[in-house]
C-alpha cells in the first residue's frame, strides 16, 4: 500500500466553507468546514470518515472545483482546483451518480472520455477496458435509464477512472453495491494504488475504509478531529471503529 517516495498531491490550508441559505429576513450561514488543513500524498489511499453533515462531500467538491473556499487555500497538483490542468488528473465519483437517461453506458463513457481529452481509438479502447473492469460489459449497450442503483454506481466508478487519473476522489463508492461488486471495487482501488495513483474516498462503512486505507481523516462538525494511520488502528483496541466512536463523542 504506502510507498516510500512522497509528493504532495493535494493541500488544504486553513480552508473554511459555509453554505448560505436564504431565510425569511436574512441569509443564514451554515458552516460546513472550519479551518481545515490536510495533505494527500502521491500513491496513498486516504479515507474520510464522519457523521452526516461533517463536511466530507464539501471537501470533495472543493477538491474538484465544484465549490470555492470562503477562506484558506487549496492546491491540487500545485494548481487551484478550478484550473483545467489540475482537473486533467482528477477522477471523481459523486455520491449516487446519475447519468443521461437516453445514452447507453458506452456512449456515456465515450462522452466523458472525450471531455477528459481522450480521442478516437484511444478513447474507445479505454472505455472498453473500464467497462470490463467494472463488470458492465453485458450491459454496455443499455441506456442508463434501465440501470439499477448498483449498475449506476459501477458506471460511476467507470467514468471516474476512464481517463486513468492520478487522483481518484470517491464519495461513498460502495454505496448500494452488492458484496461481489464491493469486492471488485476494492480490487480496482488496490490496482490503481499499485500503479502509484492517489485515492481519496469517503464511506460510512468503517470496515471498508479499514481494509483499503493507509490513513483515515475523521471529520467532526466541519473540523478535522483526528488523522489516524493504519498502524494506529491496527494496534488500537476496537480498531478504527473504536477510535472513530471515541473521536466523535469527544472531539
Amino acid at each position: 500500500m504506502m510507498t516510500a517516495a512522497r509528493e504532495r498531491v493535494v493541500s488544504f490550508s486553513g480552508v473554511s466553507k459555509a453554505y448560505r441559505r436564504p431565510g425569511l429576513l436574512k441569509t443564514v450561514e451554515v458552516p460546513a468546514l472550519r479551518g481545515l488543513s490536510l495533505d494527500l500524498e502521491r500513491g496513498e489511499i486516504a479515507g474520510l470518515l464522519g457523521l452526516n453533515g461533517a463536511g466530507k462531500t464539501t471537501i470533495m467538491k472543493l477538491m474538484t472545483g465544484l465549490l470555492f473556499p470562503d477562506a484558506g487555500s487549496i492546491s491540487v497538483f500545485g494548481l487551484p482546483p478550478s484550473d483545467v490542468n489540475a482537473k486533467k488528473h482528477i477522477g471523481f465519483l459523486p455520491e449516487l451518480p446519475y447519468f443521461y437517461p437516453y445514452s447507453t453506458a458506452s456512449e456515456s463513457l465515450l462522452y466523458y472520455a472525450g471531455l477528459s481529452g481522450l480521442k478516437g481509438p484511444e478513447a474507445r479502447a479505454r472505455v472498453d477496458a473500464v467497462i470490463g473492469k467494472v463488470g458492465l460489459r453485458p450491459h454496455a449497450g443499455k441506456k442508463a435509464a434501465e440501470f439499477s442503483k448498483g449498475m449506476m454506481q459501477r458506471l460511476g466508478v467507470a467514468q471516474a477512472v476512464v481517463h486513468d487519473p492520478d487522483l481518484l476522489i470517491l464519495d461513498e463508492p460502495v454505496s448500494g453495491l452488492d458484496p461481489l461488486a464491493i469486492h471488485e471495487i476494492r480490487d480496482l482501488i488496490s490496482d490503481l494504488n499499485a500503479s502509484n495513483k492517489t485515492v481519496f474516498l469517503s464511506s460510512h462503512s468503517i470496515s471498508e475504509l479499514e481494509k483499503v486505507s493507509d490513513r483515515v481523516f475523521i471529520m467532526v462538525q466541519g473540523r478535522l478531529a483526528k488523522t489516524v494511520a493504519r498502524a494506529d488502528w491496527e494496534s488500537a483496541q476496537g480498531g478504527l471503529e473504536g477510535i472513530f466512536v471515541q473521536t466523535v463523542k469527544n472531539p
Binding site: 467538491k61 459523486p94 451518480p97 447519468f99 443521461y100 437516453y102 445514452s103 472525450g114 471531455l115
Partner: protein
C-alpha cells in the same frame, strides 16, 4: 483538447440526448398532425389553398418549435444541476465558457432538426396537393430558426437566475410576444414624454425585434427590406450578448 473541441463534444451529446428524448418525438408528431390538419383550412380557402396551407403550416411550425425550444432551453442546465450530472462534467477539464457554448449549440441544432423534419412534412403535403414550393419557403424557415436562436439564447440566460423552469418559460414567452410588437412599442414610446421616456426607450432596446425575422409575410406585402448584413449582425448580437451575460452569472457558480 481545445475549447472548441469540448464545446463541439457537448453540443453533439446535447443534440443526441435531446432528439432521443420522447418529448422531441411527441412535439414533432403533434406538429405533423396540426400541419396535416391545415389541409382542411386550405380546402376551405378554395383559390388560396396553397397560400393558406403554407402560411398556416409555417405558423404552426414556429409555435410548436418555440414551445419545444423554450422548454428545452429552460431545462438544459437546470436539469443537469438538479440531477447532478453537471458534477461529472465540471470535475473534468471543461471550461465553463465551452460548456455554455456547447449547450447552446446543442439546442440550436435540435431546433434546426425539429424545423427540418416539420418542413419535410409540410413540403410533402404541399406536393401531395399538387402545388409547387413557394419561392420564399426556405427563407421563411431559415428566419423562423433565426428568431428561435435568439429566444433560445435568451431563455438559456434567464434559466441561470430564474427559480424554476416555468418562470423561465414565462419570462421568455413574454419577451417573445413583446418582440413581435417592438415597432408599435417604439412608435408609442417616441411619443412618450416626461421622466419615464428615456427609461422606456432603454427597455425597448432590451427586447429583441422579432419582426425583422418575420419572413412569412414575404409571400404578400412582406416586412420592410433590411440588408442581410444588418440581419446577420443583429442575430449575432442577440446570440452573443445573452451568452456573455450567462458567462458572468455562470463563472463563479457553485454546484
Amino acid at each position: 483538447m481545445t475549447n472548441l473541441a469540448i464545446a463541439w463534444s457537448i453540443a453533439r451529446h446535447s443534440l443526441v440526448e435531446n432528439y432521443k428524448n420522447r418529448f422531441f418525438g411527441l412535439f414533432v408528431i403533434f406538429a405533423g398532425v396540426l400541419i396535416y390538419a391545415s389541409l382542411l383550412a386550405g380546402v376551405m380557402a378554395v383559390d388560396e389553398e396553397a397560400r393558406v396551407i403554407t402560411d398556416l403550416g409555417l405558423a404552426l411550425m414556429e409555435l410548436v418549435t418555440l414551445a419545444y425550444a423554450l422548454m428545452a432551453a429552460a431545462s438544459a442546465i437546470t436539469r443537469e444541476v438538479e440531477t447532478k450530472t453537471i458534477y461529472l462534467v465540471f470535475s473534468r477539464p471543461v471550461p465553463r465558457p465551452a460548456y455554455l457554448a456547447g449547450k447552446a449549440a446543442g439546442l440550436y441544432a435540435t431546433t434546426a432538426l425539429m424545423l427540418g423534419v416539420m418542413a419535410l412534412i409540410q413540403l410533402s403535403l404541399i406536393y401531395f396537393r399538387g402545388f409547387a414550393t413557394p419561392p420564399f419557403y426556405f427563407k421563411a424557415v431559415l428566419f423562423i430558426w433565426c428568431s428561435l436562436l435568439i429566444i433560445t439564447s435568451v431563455a438559456l440566460f434567464v434559466s441561470l437566475f430564474s427559480t424554476s423552469i416555468v418562470s423561465t418559460v414565462t419570462i421568455s414567452g413574454i419577451l417573445w410576444t413583446l418582440g413581435h410588437f417592438t415597432s408599435e412599442a417604439r412608435f408609442l414610446i417616441a411619443r412618450a414624454s416626461g421622466a419615464s421616456a428615456p427609461l422606456l426607450k432603454a427597455v425597448a432596446y432590451c427586447i429583441p425585434n422579432f419582426q425583422l425575422f418575420n419572413a412569412r409575410d414575404l409571400g404578400s406585402a412582406g416586412p420592410a427590406a433590411v440588408s442581410p448584413g444588418f440581419l446577420a449582425g443583429y442575430l449575432l448580437l442577440w446570440i452573443s450578448v445573452p451568452y456573455l451575460f450567462s458567462l458572468v452569472l455562470f463563472r463563479k457558480r457553485e454546484f
